[in-house]
Symmetry: C2
Subunit: 411 residues, 2 copies
């Protein structure tokens, strides 16, 4: 890698760009399913409506359909038909009005609906109109919302509940989406013990395994648990080869520095290709990117806070693109005032765990008081990440770009 | 209902407050499950750590553990042991240093770690230290992140991926959460046709059914499809009674106005209790709230845009509270500049479908050009809702409170 302008580190945006481009090189196979099953999936084709919505002009109100040409001083009318939503009306008999309900089709010959609040029903059943009525009043024209031939959804869009509702509006029973990406995840470290087991001296509980599994589940991928790799080369090699047979992408945590105990690089040199990046990101910095056979590989750091940030900012970009998503990939960072100061600048872009708070001055960012902690307390406490650029100092009240966890899909 | 200070309509905040309070009157039963299964669930108990994290002081670097008292001008040392992460060290032999790796336990007798970059390995295997070393340098103290007895998560918190990772950190294999709320949903309207069927004149496709189903799924509830109710009283009554046997909460769309074709009110008067609210909300306004037998009932409007907004702003508050969630229920509305003007004020608080855009002036809100559409195109297009208060006009550049769809859990 040659793109390391500052302090020999790769800028975060360069890493994101490389990961996005690599992610787009392939998409999963396409499958077709019911709308309800497709929630959260990525659309594999543009969707074009083959009908007008509404399919006919209909009434926006409960009231009476009439022809304004009949309103020549005469304001008392016979009701010649009753049109409920879902029924097919007859043409409006000249000189009469039709009782009509919200959503019901406007009969031929009518050009307005007067709302029932502006009418009086007389003792003989006839109706007196006590308001002026304009042409087209309270009528929703045919095709007002969607015109036949109109594109309503784009390939590469993630199907939200609103998108599912919109697909239902045009009567489409199924939809073609990309298969869910299969992501194998492995952790490294002889010190790791599974929950429920006792801890010997020197051991710690494995939090990255549950963290990555949950992150992958939350983002809608198929998570394949590759387990914990023993800290030796043959075990690392065997685990990677097995993962490559099962998955579309492989992610590991830990083992990507160059210490004597780190075997990830050596193993992948035997069965693929690996770049070790030093990225100007804090927490984080070391990230490995390459392939095991033909399967893309991302090696995250071992510290859970670094996993959290590098997964959300870097790995997520690769995974969403590889899943086929092409829209709303990068959430907007929203400027919000900091309620803290940072006097010492950093050589890496820092992603602070911050919470939104209401102060007298309005909404402010509050910083977690232990940004260097190895565990996820601050990520649980926080609402998102505030970005402090390399070399930047912060005065209280300065606006910092804020990425909410919800906009990153993990709140 | 007496709380209708403006134009005879109930303020949105009053409706939210009533729904929150009613929601909190009951919580689902508690069940215990593995961490991975518990993602997205609501925690039914406080979680207290029974261990220190880290459990022993450990090294923050690859390097050498030593005792700074031994650094009396002497800077060349014998390496007396090698301590990998996960292994149990012996006490440090006086006058020697120990090879140590990131995460490995600090041996008794050592009080600092010098990073390997500040050391030279000599030909005879001894190591020369070429930096000054301070007491406690590169040591993560026992309990730095979590102290035994500390509360790490609160009852009523939604379990995000970070929270699952934090639970794994303290070695807890299972967690007690509330059972998923069972929500039955029904739609009303003889004009509704299911996807894939042909449309006769006057008919439209049923979008609310898929919309509500997807919204409930996306929020993690168990969605029970009660189907479409025919527009007559006996069918409405039978459908409601059946739903009340199956569900913890019942939601309907359509049929809550007082038109001749609306049978929801009449049906519930026979088997429960119902208030018909007129809320100062646009889109929306009519909302029904009551009970069928002992099962809470929320009747949403029939227009999909109104369903979308009243579900997210009103029904969601009831559902999350009833699910047992007590934290982060109302997302923060973030002030962002409007790139549009509104000259005519409204008698209801309006929730505009808006998109975030980058302009020369920074991030701005763009309004969808068809706010009155009946279909969900604008909800699909938008990133969230901008709030315009009753009586408020908007000049271009005015800051409006913005609720992102992601912060509402539906993007």
């Amino acid at each position: 890698m040659s793109e390391c302008p500052t302090h020999g580190l790769m800028p975060v945006d360069t890493a994101i760009e490389i990961l996005q481009r690599a992610g787009r090189q392939k998409t999963p196979a396409i499958e077709e399913m019911s709308l309800i099953e497709a929630l959260g999936r990525v659309l594999a084709e543009d969707v074009i409506s083959s009908l007008d919505v509404p399919p006919q002009a209909n009434s926006a109100m409960d009231g009476y359909a009439l022809n304004t040409a009949d309103l020549n001083g005469e304001m008392i009318f016979t009701v010649s038909q009753r049109i409920a939503a879902g029924s097919q009306p007859s043409a409006l008999q000249q000189g009469t009005i039709a009782r009509i309900f919200t959503g019901a089709v406007i009969p031929n010959g009518a050009n307005a609906v007067v709302m029932q609040e502006d009418c009086q029903v007389l003792a003989d059943g006839r109706v007196k109109i006590v308001a002026t009525v304009k042409d087209q009043e309270n009528i929703r024209p045919q095709g007002q919302d969607i015109v036949s031939g109109q594109q309503i959804l784009q390939q590469g869009e993630r199907l939200t509940a609103a998108a599912i509702g919109l697909l239902a509006t045009i009567g489409q029973p199924t939809v073609r989406v990309y298969q869910r990406l299969k992501v194998a995840f492995l952790s490294t470290g002889d010190e790791l013990v599974e929950a429920g087991q006792p801890l010997a001296i020197g051991q710690i509980y494995n939090s990255n395994r549950s963290l990555i599994h949950s992150l992958l589940n939350e983002m809608g991928f198929i998570a394949i648990d590759g387990g914990v790799i023993a800290d030796n080369l043959p075990a690392t090699l065997a685990a990677f080869k097995k993962a490559a047979q099962l998955a579309d992408v492989i992610i590991s945590t830990g083992g990507v520095s160059v210490g004597e105990e780190d075997h990830v690089k050596a193993a992948i040199d035997q069965c693929g290709e690996l770049d070790l990046w030093k990225i100007a990101i804090k927490p984080g910095k070391p990230l490995a990117f390459g392939r095991i056979g033909d399967v893309p590989f991302i090696g995250l750091p071992g510290n859970p806070q670094s996993v959290w940030v590098t997964f959300l900012i870097l790995a997520r970009q690769f995974l969403l693109n590889r899943q086929g998503q092409r829209h709303k990939l990068l959430p907007y960072a929203i400027p919000i005032a900091a309620d803290f100061a940072i006097h010492k600048s950093q050589k890496r872009r820092e992603y602070l765990r911050v919470r939104l708070n209401v102060s007298e001055a309005g909404l402010v960012l509050q910083r977690h008081n232990n940004q260097s902690s190895g565990v996820l307390s601050s990520a649980v406490w926080a609402d998102g990440l505030a970005i402090v650029e390399m070399g930047q100092t912060v005065a209280e009240g300065d606006f910092l770009p804020f990425l909410s966890f919800s906009s990153l899909g993990v709140a």
